[in-house]
């Protein structure tokens, strides 16, 4: 159990998820010396019976290179959790640990779906109260060729259909202009290919200022761009939401009328924009693998980690990996014929 806060966040989150989903069973993979004292606080809850601790020796730290992490991964919580899937003891893995290591180990242990060059990290960005855009890649592949972007488009379409229930989702490529001549070579290459895949409803380029305008159901980019785009948005939203908060001391100094205004303002703002707070849509699918793996923010709090567990449940229920495999086979067979 990695991430910035380890079991102090993930254990309470696991218990909350068990309470929300009565048929859910969870395996907590990590160091018992850290997990057990936190778990002991919840001993009296009956749902603790649906929770099993799988003991491991160590955790992969967040700042080592993926290649090195994989070499020293034996008996780490991340590797053991993934091995529980490959041995049939678990259906999905949720981790707040080192993204590169999770990607590398997932590929090694769970394998990619045939035809997928590299799995991608993806999230469901809420652009309105009901609408969501599937964005990928968010940082698993910081350098992508055009073929990879095309594969991301196919996987994103399946996610949009299966998880969000969108029929014939609109797919776009993130670029720095809307004209065909704009952008990097890999993007222009992917655009050309996507125009010729009838099973994908490709609508062209979208610029980053239209991210929250709901213009596409799937937005495809390389992992570097996806990461900085999403982090920029999160940063702006966090700053704006935090501006609304006052410390207790500051609040006590206000007059009653100002307190009322503050209260209404906060309520209005929270209703309008809290959906854009990273906590509410935490949980990035590592799509393109033969099983479900969800990456949580390293700095996720309890609420955010529960949201990541929910995404894992949803992906298992919708059988996302199988659906991607089938779609890919259909697209490739049409392409070859």
């Amino acid at each position: 159990m990695g991430g910035d806060f380890g079991p102090t966040v993930t254990v309470p989150a696991a218990l909350e998820a068990l309470s929300l989903h009565p048929t859910l069973k969870l395996l907590l993979v990590g160091t018992p010396a850290v997990i057990m004292p936190i778990l002991s606080e919840y001993n009296k809850l009956s749902r603790i019976n649906r929770l099993t601790v799988v003991p491991t020796d160590s955790v992969i730290s967040s700042n080592i290179r993926p290649g090195h992490a994989i070499r020293i991964s034996r008996n780490t919580s991340m590797r053991v959790a993934l091995e529980l899937i490959s041995s049939g003891h678990a259906d999905a893995c949720v981790s707040a640990g080192n993204t590169g290591a999770l990607m590398g180990l997932s590929k090694l242990i769970l394998k990619s779906i045939d035809g997928i060059e590299r799995p991608a990290l993806t999230t469901l960005l809420p652009y309105s109260e009901t609408g969501k855009t599937v964005i990928l890649d968010l940082g698993a592949n910081i350098v992508c060729n055009g073929e990879m972007l095309v594969q991301f488009a196919i996987m994103g379409s399946v996610l949009s259909e299966q998880i969000l229930g969108i029929n014939n989702p609109r797919v776009a490529l993130l670029n720095i202009g809307s004209e065909e001549t704009k952008g990097l070579d890999n993007i222009r290459y992917a655009s050309k290919i996507l125009h010729n895949i009838p099973l994908i409803r490709y609508i062209g380029y979208i610029e980053a200022n239209d991210l929250l305008m709901g213009k596409s159901d799937v937005l495809v980019c390389d992992g570097f761009s996806g990461n900085i785009t999403l982090k920029t948005m999160e940063g702006v939203i966090r700053i704006i939401l935090s501006t609304m908060k006052l410390s207790g001391k500051q609040y006590n100094k206000l007059r009653w009328f100002t307190k009322l205004i503050r209260f209404l303002l906060n309520k209005y703002f929270f209703n309008k924009f809290s959906r854009l707070h990273p906590d509410w849509y935490n949980g990035a699918h590592l799509v393109g693998l033969k099983s479900t793996v969800i990456k949580s923010h390293g700095a996720a709090n309890r609420r955010a980690f529960v949201s990541a567990i929910k995404q894992a449940i949803h992906s298992i229920e919708c059988r996302v990996p199988e659906k991607i495999f089938t779609r890919l086979r259909t697209v490739l067979s049409k392409k070859d014929s």
Copy 2:
């Protein structure tokens, strides 16, 4: 006079700039048939004497490739405006036209400062009521090698010192993690070099979620990342500010108390965040050239275009190009010695 709205925006903006700066003289370069009818509305103003129309035949359209634009640029408003600088008739050029063409023609006609591989687009992002971060590149160079990022860091430092008056500005590289091992090869290379330049106060990597935290005075990135980072921020801010607005009809339906709350809320929000609205900091310096060139947003409105003109005035007053040349020579001589 290009841009999305052409002289309908730029002519009134020019007149406002003349009113704000009593010693300013402006040359309006463009098609007289379009400019003159708009200008005729202001005939009675005395400041119109400080304005000269330089007639040209055509405008470079915003969606043609830079290479082609340059080949057909003879007697276009953009080319003529830049030639007015090289012939000594103007000190700076402000354009809302095709960014790639402006970059290409500026390099061709005005030339880069010795030692600068490629000029960069940069803006001053207001992260607080008084603090600003110089960000570059914003899209002039969508592919950058490590050396170019180092040059951007040097130019950004000079801009921060000269335009913002910051002593020994903190310089950071935009990346997807804070550890040295993270990110693309060019970023890691630039980081290594910057650590060894004593004249630059290099502080390491900054992630996009810290963009508005004021952690650095200069933020360096390739043009693709810079463009999508800034556009993401603009998109989020625009959406939030637009949510605060109601149509006249919607407003009239509200009760007096709700109207009052609305009024206070808008006032509060405007005071807090209007500085982040693109109109207030429009105007990207094309730094690294031997003269001052300012690129305005294509979709800039009057207020935003005035802001771009102000930046040109400021750059001329601070003699930015000369200062960059001197700094670069100092850094290179220290490096060689």
